[in-house]
């Protein structure tokens, strides 16, 4: 208990110190303030090796062994700078992270060389969450930008924690590292949970809540028709194409005329997440079927609309719930 408290206090102090030392920014050019450097475990082994070479050389009065030892020591010194300057050449930029569902993975683009016109760093670079052992390896010799795989946590809008970037280039004698805050947020939608679609009548038309306007089944397949140039490719009935060499498109019933509100029922905190998950599913279904829908989260109401942008807006509102005041920029 005490230990945990101490740990938390220590972490807090550390965070405060880091926030002062390496302020959050979208684009981070590494420099003297942000880079930490210490000999790695191998660095210490190497130093031990130098010492034993020195002892051996002295005992055998062997000048060549001594020179070898001094050369190795000099390389240790030179590498302090080589590691630092290589690492300082990194100019990292994290593009906005696409939103995703809870516990899924998204990829964010991390640019290693945002300051162009310059040669970038060499060697492998490890990226991990601050205070976490697991890391992703990026080879800066191969790529200038990399798709960073992020494992999304539970629903919500989270600040992206500091990322630890480290490098052992060139000889692994030193570990250069930094903890960067890219000043971005993770927007995590609730993971959709299958359920019945429930659209409530538009409140301004009909005050009577709870009346069901429409309940279209999911993905109501209507039939096939001839393919017309310009049809969506994922509507093409590929089975038929393969069999008959005739292009047919699958036709789905359109519910564009239907319109209504998705509502978050009054629930206790225990079932809240589940209800939000169901709403997420319904939003997706409505959006897929081109239904004009609005979202009513009690405190926050989104007017009915269609389209991808609307869907994202609604899901973001779910992610932010119950915080309905902050306008979250993606």
């Amino acid at each position: 208990m005490l230990l945990a408290n101490l740990q938390r206090a220590w972490r807090k102090r550390m965070d405060d110190w880091l926030n002062r030392r390496i302020p959050a920014a979208h684009k981070q050019q590494l420099d003297l303030r942000s880079i930490f450097i210490l000999p790695s475990r191998f660095g210490w082994l190497y130093l031990l090796l130098c010492i034993s070479l020195f002892v051996l050389g002295t005992n055998y009065q062997n000048n060549l062994m001594l020179i070898l030892c001094f050369v190795m020591l000099a390389i240790l010194l030179i590498n302090l700078h080589a590691s630092y300057w290589n690492f300082a050449r990194l100019c990292l930029m994290l593009k906005a992270i696409p939103p995703g569902y809870a516990n899924s993975q998204v990829t964010a683009k991390l640019h290693l060389n945002a300051a162009e016109h310059q040669k970038s760093a060499s060697g492998e670079i490890r990226v991990s969450t601050f205070g976490d052992d697991e890391y992703q390896v990026i080879d800066a010799d191969c790529v200038q930008s990399v798709d960073l795989k992020l494992q999304l946590p539970e629903r919500g809008i989270h600040r992206l924690p500091r990322l630890t970037i480290e490098s052992f280039f060139p000889l692994g004698l030193y570990r250069c590292w930094t903890h960067l805050d890219f000043n971005t947020h993770l927007v995590v939608f609730p993971a959709p949970q299958r359920c019945e679609l429930k659209l409530y009548a538009l409140p301004d038309e009909n005050e009577q809540e709870g009346s069901l306007v429409a309940q279209p089944g999911t993905e109501d397949f209507e039939g096939l028709r001839r393919y017309v140039v310009g049809d969506n490719l994922n509507r093409v009935a590929w089975k038929h194409v393969a069999k008959q060499q005739q292009w047919l498109s699958k036709n789905f019933e359109s519910y564009a005329s239907v319109s209504g509100f998705l509502k978050l029922p009054m629930v206790d905190a225990v079932n809240l997440e589940q209800e939000l998950a169901k709403l997420a599913h319904q939003i997706n279904v409505c959006s897929q079927q081109n239904v004009s829908f609005g979202l009513d989260l009690g405190g926050q109401k989104l007017a009915p609309a269609t389209g991808e942008a609307h869907r994202i807006k609604c899901l973001t509102a779910l992610a932010a719930y119950p915080d309905n005041t902050s306008e979250v920029r993606l």
Binding site: L45, Y46, L49, S52, L53, V55, L56, G57, T58, N59, Y60, Q61, N62, N63, L64, M65, L66, I67, L68, C69, F70, V71, M72, L73, A74, I75, L77, I78, N79, H81, A82, W85, N86, R89, Q105, H117, Q118, K119, S122, G123, E124, V127, D132, E134, Y135, Q136, V137, D139, D141, C142, L150, Q151, L160, L163, F168, F169, P170, L171, G172, L186
Partner: protein
């Protein structure tokens, strides 16, 4: 956990990556430079392991050697090595163990840690290589191996760096490290050995402390350097150059060894704290000897020597007039000697010397015993007796050969009466035995005779100069040197072994490629001398660099060394290293442009932009020139037009000369800056 882990590098990936393969190559190169100290079965093991490694790298084979297999093999090998270690001695056992351990580490590399451990072991092994070989050739091999090892480290942390890039990177680092290392080497004080280290037994060619006729004949096939002497007085003539190494006083009818009685006496003297300090008088030669590592204690000096050490090793004079080091010579060492060549060797106790040197084997060589008894009866006194033997050698037409017949039984009889041909040891051994039979104290001295004059003051002595001669105690003169070889082959003494062996053609017959054999071809001889000189400078300034030289150099630069001065030197060393490091960093600090030409142009553009408050944004060079013409004065526009033209010429026109373009742009930028300033 926000950053999801990608698949970590698997054991197979590490096994098949290039790093272990590069390390394997460095390893096998290392083993091949140490063929003498490394046991042959371990060498075979190393070769096999490297082949296995290669097959992993070239994907011929899946790397699937179980840890248990490796461990089992390692235990077996360790037991075998333990068996051999009884005869190997500690140092060689340790080196073999290290070589073996590296081999087993190479067999199974599944983690990065394995690679770094292997690197450390291999680097240490490289250091150990210097125990056995310190020549220029081997040093350059070891430097290359170090380079390769560093490269292998880079391939761990930057697997996609080009191989040339990696070699260039480490090469530059190694070059940068050299000046720092040299500074440290020159200035850091040389410590005395911290503790006694095990040495290799018989790992080197050279004299040995037991001599059987035939031994030195083998040595005569080696053109390896034994030592060098640098004279500050005039050089002794060839026939004066008898470099004494040790004195053998015990004879068993076949083999000469050090006398146990003598050992006992020496030990007693040492306990009493008595050392041999003859009264020196007369003229002397003053010279410095740079001895190659022999892993033995004996050193080399002429006549009656007064040695003084100039390193941490003590150099002493023994009661048999021999010079020896207080520890085995494991690396090149130098010492200074004054040799008094007109002195008699009569300052030791005659009683002791006579007692020791009249010892004869109780049986064997019956013909010789009979023959000597006859001669003693015919002659009058020791000198007459020696003359009689000389006469016998000459009358019987004894010959000097490097290829004597083996004489397993009664060797002296066999030599004197049947073969009548032999090498120096045969003559010396027979003569010393005969003298002892005639009740004249006599002993065998081994060492080197002659040597090649390399430059005005330097004599190089090679293993093929090894020689043995006799000393006899003549009552009025003390120990007198008698060299029976000189009777039968005066050439050997006056002109060296090569001259003496010209007819027989056996000089270095076993090493046809030795440069020393090609002395007759002028160009080759020139080359050989040049190499010898280079090697000499190497030995003198690098291998033999010791406290004395260090002090001399520091004194030359800083004058008399006081404590205050020493601390200043220490501080300036630190400052100098920091300065060097700063120098190395400068290129790293500069933002390295991918395109220096465009960068130059950019700089000029920035000047113009700042002066006229315009922005290039994404305009091309010609369009921007137009923009500049619109807002700038004529003089600046004219200069900028030149800049634009030069840039377009180098960047976009066919066959551009980039480097010249950069220079031109730099000059023009200076002009632009001036013009802008003038027109402000």
């Amino acid at each position: 956990m926000i950053v999801a882990t990608t698949k970590p590098q698997s054991a197979i990936d590490i096994e098949q990556s290039i790093t272990p393969f590069i390390m394997a190559l460095a390893y096998i190169a290392l083993v091949f430079t140490m063929l003498t100290p490394v046991l042959s079965w371990i060498t075979v093991l190393a070769v096999c392991v490297v082949i296995v490694r290669g097959s992993f790298y070239f994907r011929d084979q899946q790397p699937q050697i179980a840890l248990r297999t490796v461990n089992l093999l390692a235990i077996l090998a360790a037991i075998t090595l333990g068996w051999f270690s009884l005869s190997l001695g500690l140092l060689l056992t340790m080196v073999n163990l290290l070589v073996m351990a590296c081999a087993f580490k190479l067999l199974r590399i599944t983690r990065r840690k394995d690679l770094t451990q292997l690197f450390a072991s291999l680097l240490f092994l490289t250091g150990c290589g210097f125990i056995f070989e310190q020549g220029l050739l081997h040093t350059s091999i070891y430097v290359s191996i170090t380079l390769v090892l560093l490269c292998s480290l880079i391939t761990i942390h930057a697997p996609h760096m080009s191989k040339r890039g990696a070699i260039k990177y480490t090469g530059i680092q190694l070059l940068q490290a050299m000046p720092i290392a040299v500074l440290l080497f020159l200035v850091l004080p040389k410590l005395p050995p911290l503790w006694q280290m095990p040495t290799a037994q018989g790992a080197k060619t050279g004299l040995s402390d037991t001599v059987t006729p035939g031994d030195i004949a083998e040595l005569s096939q080696s053109s390896e350097l034994a030592f060098r002497a640098i004279f500050s007085t005039e050089l002794p003539r060839n026939n004066q150059r008898y470099w004494r190494a040790m004195t053998l006083e015990q004879f068993d009818g076949k083999t000469w060894t050090r006398s146990p009685t003598r050992r006992q006496i020496t030990r007693q003297y040492r306990q009493l704290g008595r050392s041999f300090t003859p009264v020196y008088e007369g003229e002397f030669w003053d010279y410095q000897v740079i001895a190659e590592p022999s892993h033995q204690t004996w050193l080399f000096a002429l006549d009656v020597a007064s040695p003084s050490a100039n390193s941490e090793f003590g150099v002493n004079l023994g009661f048999e007039y021999q010079v020896y080091a207080s520890r085995p010579v494991v690396s090149t060492m130098s010492y200074t000697v004054e040799s008094y060549y007109n002195m008699s060797l009569d300052q030791t106790l005659q009683t002791v010397d006579s007692r020791v040197n009249l010892q004869i084997p109780s049986n064997g060589n019956p013909k010789t015993v009979e023959w000597v008894a006859g001669l003693v009866a015919q002659t009058d006194g020791p000198s007459d007796f020696i003359d009689a033997i000389q006469r016998y050698f000459l009358e019987q037409e004894f010959s000097y050969t490097l290829r004597p017949q083996p004489m397993p039984k009664n060797p002296v009889d066999e030599f004197l009466f049947n073969q009548q041909a032999g090498f120096c040891v045969h003559y010396a051994s027979a003569l010393a035995y005969a003298l002892r039979l005639a009740n004249i104290p006599a002993r065998l001295v081994t060492g080197y005779q002659g040597g090649e004059i390399q430059s005005d003051a330097v004599i190089s002595v090679y293993q093929y100069d090894a020689h043995a001669w006799v000393e006899a105690w003549l009552d009025d003169r003390g120990w007198v040197r008698i060299d029976p070889t000189a009777w039968v082959s005066p050439d050997r003494i006056d002109f060296g072994l090569e001259q003496a062996m010209r007819e027989e053609g056996s000089f270095l017959a076993d090493s046809p490629l030795s440069l020393a054999r090609l002395k007759n071809i002028a160009a080759f001889n020139q080359l050989r001398l040049w190499f010898a000189n280079l090697d000499y400078q190497w030995s003198k300034w690098v291998l033999g660099f010791n406290n004395q030289q260090q002090k001399d150099i520091l004194r030359q630069i800083f004058g008399e060394l006081t404590t205050a001065k020493l601390s200043v030197i220490g501080l300036s060393l630190v400052a100098l290293i920091a300065l060097l490091l700063g120098l190395y960093i400068l290129p790293m600090m500069r933002n390295r442009s991918l395109n220096p030409l465009a960068n130059e142009y950019r700089k000029s553009v920035e000047l113009v932009e700042a002066s006229f408050a315009i922005k290039r944004a994404t305009l091309g060079p010609e369009d921007f020139l137009q923009r500049v013409a619109d807002s700038a004065d004529n003089a600046s526009t004219a200069v900028f037009a030149q800049i634009t033209e030069a840039y377009i010429k180098s960047e976009y026109q066919p066959s551009p000369a980039q480097f010249e373009g950069i220079k031109q742009l730099q000059q023009l930028r200076r002009l632009l800056r001036k013009t802008l300033k003038k027109n402000r």
